[in-house]
C-alpha cells in the first residue's frame, strides 16, 4: 500500500448501504414534502406586496431572484424591502408596500441596474412602461371626489397625471347642479408606482395599487367587442342584420 491511499471511513456492507440510503431518502422525502407545501403556499403574493419595476412575472421571479438585496440597497428612497420569515411575501425576496413608501419611478431605474440575475428584467427600458401593479379606486363610498368634494390628490401626485389617471366628470345627482370628478385609472398607462395610494388623505386609502393578476379581469379568449371589430374591418362584419321570422306562441 502506498501512503497515498485515499481516506475511507469504513467499508460498508451492501445491506448497510441500502439501509442508510433508504433512511436518508425517507427522512429527506418527508422534509421535501413539507417544504414543497410551504413553497407552493408562499408562491402567491399578498395583495399589498408589489414587486420592483421590471420584475419578471411572479412565477419566473421566484425562480430567478437569489434574494441578494442588491436592488434594496440600490433604491435611493428605501422603497424596497426584503421579505422576512412569516411575512406575506416569499422570504428574502424584494417587495414594497405602496402605502408605506411608494416607488419614486427613478428614470435610471437603479434597482434594475443592480440586479445581477435578471429577476428584475433588463428588458424594461423606460420606467414609464413599468407594470408593478395597477391602481384601482377600490372604495367609491369613501373617496372624497366620488362624494362630490374636490380632493384630487391622487390625480395630482401621479407622475403620469392625465395619462395614467384622469378625472371624469359626472353629474352630481345629490345636489342636482354640481359635477363630480371621478378619479379614473387607465391600465395601459398606470405603472403601479403607488404614489396615489400613498398620498390619499383618508386614514385608509380609497385608491390602492394591486398586483396585476388581482386587479385585472380577463376576457374569454373567444370574446370580441363588436364595435372594435367593426372599426378594424372598416364596416359591419355581417352584411345585414339577420331578420328571423317572429315566432309567436302557438294557439291563441
Amino acid at each position: 500500500m502506498s501512503s497515498s491511499t485515499t481516506y475511507q471511513p469504513r467499508k460498508m456492507s451492501r445491506r448497510q448501504l441500502i439501509t442508510d440510503a433508504s433512511r436518508g431518502l425517507c427522512g429527506v422525502g418527508l422534509l421535501a414534502t413539507g417544504l414543497a407545501g410551504y413553497a407552493k403556499q408562499s408562491q402567491s403574493l399578498a395583495a399589498q406586496c408589489l414587486r420592483p419595476p421590471g420584475a419578471l412575472s411572479e412565477e419566473d421571479f421566484l425562480a430567478a431572484c437569489v434574494r441578494c438585496g442588491l436592488c434594496v440597497e440600490a433604491c435611493p428612497y428605501d422603497t424596497l424591502k426584503l421579505g422576512k420569515l412569516f411575512e406575506p411575501v416569499t422570504t428574502g425576496t424584494p417587495y414594497f408596500d405602496a402605502n408605506v413608501i411608494p416607488c419614486e419611478m427613478c428614470e435610471d431605474i437603479p434597482c434594475q441596474e443592480a440586479c445581477p440575475t435578471g429577476a428584475i428584467s433588463p428588458e424594461l427600458e423606460s420606467i414609464n412602461d413599468a407594470k408593478m401593479g395597477l391602481a384601482v379606486l377600490l372604495d367609491r363610498e369613501t373617496c372624497l371626489n366620488t362624494q362630490g368634494l374636490r380632493c384630487d390628490i391622487c390625480v395630482r401626485v401621479c407622475p403620469l397625471m392625465d395619462e395614467a389617471i384622469t378625472l371624469e366628470v359626472q353629474r352630481n345627482v345629490r345636489t342636482g347642479h354640481h359635477a363630480m370628478f371621478i378619479p379614473t385609472v387607465h391600465s395601459d398607462a398606470c405603472t403601479g408606482c403607488g404614489k396615489c395610494e400613498h398620498a390619499c388623505p383618508l386614514p385608509e386609502a380609497a385608491i390602492k395599487v394591486l398586483p396585476l393578476d388581482i386587479a385585472k379581469g380577463e376576457l374569454g379568449k373567444h370574446y370580441r367587442w363588436g364595435w372594435v371589430e367593426k372599426d378594424n374591418a372598416g364596416g359591419s362584419l355581417i352584411d345585414e342584420v339577420l331578420d328571423l321570422p317572429d315566432r309567436l306562441p302557438e294557439g291563441d
Binding site: 500500500m1 502506498s2 501512503s3 497515498s4 491511499t5 485515499t6 481516506y7 475511507q8 471511513p9 442508510d20 433512511r23 436518508g24 431518502l25 427522512g27 429527506v28 422534509l31 421535501a32 417544504l35 414543497a36 410551504y38 413553497a39 407552493k40 408562499s42 408562491q43 412565477e59 419566473d60 421566484l62 425562480a63 430567478a64 437569489v66 434574494r67 441578494c68 438585496g69 442588491l70 434594496v72 440597497e73 440600490a74 424591502k81 426584503l82 422576512k84 420569515l85 412569516f86 411575512e87 416569499t90 422570504t91 428574502g92 443592480a114 440586479c115 445581477p116 440575475t117 435578471g118 429577476a119 433588463p122
Partner: protein, 286 residues
C-alpha cells in the same frame, strides 16, 4: 479527559498560540459581516448585497454557486453578472478547500461552534444517531425540488442565507430558525446542523474534494493521544486515519472533503502535530 480540552496546548504554547486560528477565524467571519454591514450602516459601500450575491467595490460580482444552481434548477438562467460571480466564487473555494466557506465565512458556523462548545462545558454526551451523509440527500433535495416547483424552495428556509440576510436587512422572525439550530445542535445531535444536514456545506464539500490546500498530521509520530483535536474538530471522523493510520499506509494529509480547514486542530495540539500544507509537494515526496 483529565484536563479541560486544550489546556495542555495553552500550557505548552501560551493562550494566544493555542487560539490563533480560532481568533483569526472569528476575525474573518465577523470582518466579512462587518464589510457587508458597513454599507447600510455607515454608507461605506465596500461590498453590496449579501452572501447569495454581492458586488465588491462596485466591480467584482460574487454569487453563491449553490444558490445559482437552485435558480438554474428552477428554470432561470441567470444574467451574465451573476454567472461570472458564481465562477469567481467557485474558483476561490476550489483553491482554498470548499468547506473553508463553512469555517471562515458562514455565520451559522458561530452558532454551531457555540453549541459544540457548550456541549463540552455542560458535558452533554447524548446524541441522536444521524448519518453524516444526510446532508447530501438534503443537497439533492434542494436541487431537485426547484425543478418541479419552479421556485427555490430551499432558500425559503436556508438558515445560512437567512442569517446573513437577517443581519444586513433585518432579521424579522428569522431568529427562530437560528435558535432552533442552536438547540438542535446542543440537545439532539452533536454537530447536527453543520455536520449532518446543511446542504450548503455539502455543496462546498463536493466543490472542495480536489482542492490543493489541506491540513495534514505531518508530525503524527509526536501525537500522544490526548484526543483534544477529536474533541474540538467539527468533523472528528476525518482525523482518525491520517493520525493513526500510518501502519495501514494512510497519508497524514487530511483528504476528506468534510474537513473544514478550520485549523482548530493545529491550535489545540500541544505537540504541533498538524500543519497546513498543499497537496502538490506532498505528492512529489512520495
Amino acid at each position: 479527559m483529565k484536563y479541560p480540552v486544550g489546556k495542555e496546548a495553552i500550557e505548552e504554547k501560551g493562550w494566544f498560540l493555542a487560539h490563533r486560528f480560532l481568533l483569526l477565524r472569528r476575525f474573518v467571519q465577523l470582518g466579512v459581516l462587518a464589510l457587508f454591514l458597513a454599507g447600510p450602516l455607515f454608507g461605506l459601500w465596500i461590498i453590496k448585497g449579501n452572501l447569495s450575491s454581492s458586488l465588491f467595490l462596485d466591480v467584482v460580482p460574487m454569487t453563491d454557486p449553490f444558490v445559482a444552481l437552485q435558480a438554474f434548477a428552477a428554470g432561470h438562467l441567470l444574467e451574465t453578472t451573476a454567472i461570472i460571480g458564481a465562477v469567481i466564487i467557485i474558483s476561490f473555494y476550489f483553491l482554498l478547500g470548499g468547506r473553508v466557506f463553512c469555517s471562515w465565512v458562514c455565520p451559522v458556523n458561530m452558532i454551531s461552534d457555540a453549541a459544540h462548545w457548550l456541549r463540552r462545558k455542560l458535558k452533554i454526551r447524548t446524541s441522536t444517531k444521524l448519518s453524516r451523509k444526510t446532508r447530501f440527500w438534503v443537497l439533492a433535495m434542494a436541487l431537485v425540488l426547484p425543478i418541479g416547483l419552479g421556485t427555490m424552495a430551499w432558500e425559503l428556509i436556508n438558515p445560512v442565507s437567512m442569517f446573513h440576510r437577517g443581519v444586513i436587512f433585518g432579521m424579522g422572525a428569522g431568529w427562530i430558525v437560528l435558535v432552533g439550530i442552536f438547540l438542535f445542535d446542543l440537545l439532539l445531535v452533536e454537530q447536527g446542523w453543520c455536520g449532518h444536514i446543511c446542504p450548503h456545506g455539502a455543496f462546498y464539500n463536493v466543490l472542495g474534494r480536489y482542492s490543493p490546500i489541506k491540513v495534514s498530521a505531518t508530525n503524527r509520530d509526536k501525537c500522544h493521544k490526548c484526543m483534544d483535536c477529536f474533541a474540538v474538530c467539527p468533523e472528528p471522523q476525518v482525523l482518525k486515519m491520517p493520525l493513526f493510520g500510518e501502519n495501514k499506509g494512510f497519508s497524514p494529509v487530511i483528504k476528506s472533503a468534510d474537513c473544514t480547514n478550520c485549523a482548530r486542530c493545529i491550535d489545540v495540539c500541544s505537540k504541533d502535530v498538524f500543519k497546513i500544507t498543499t497537496i502538490l509537494p506532498n505528492k512529489a515526496e512520495v
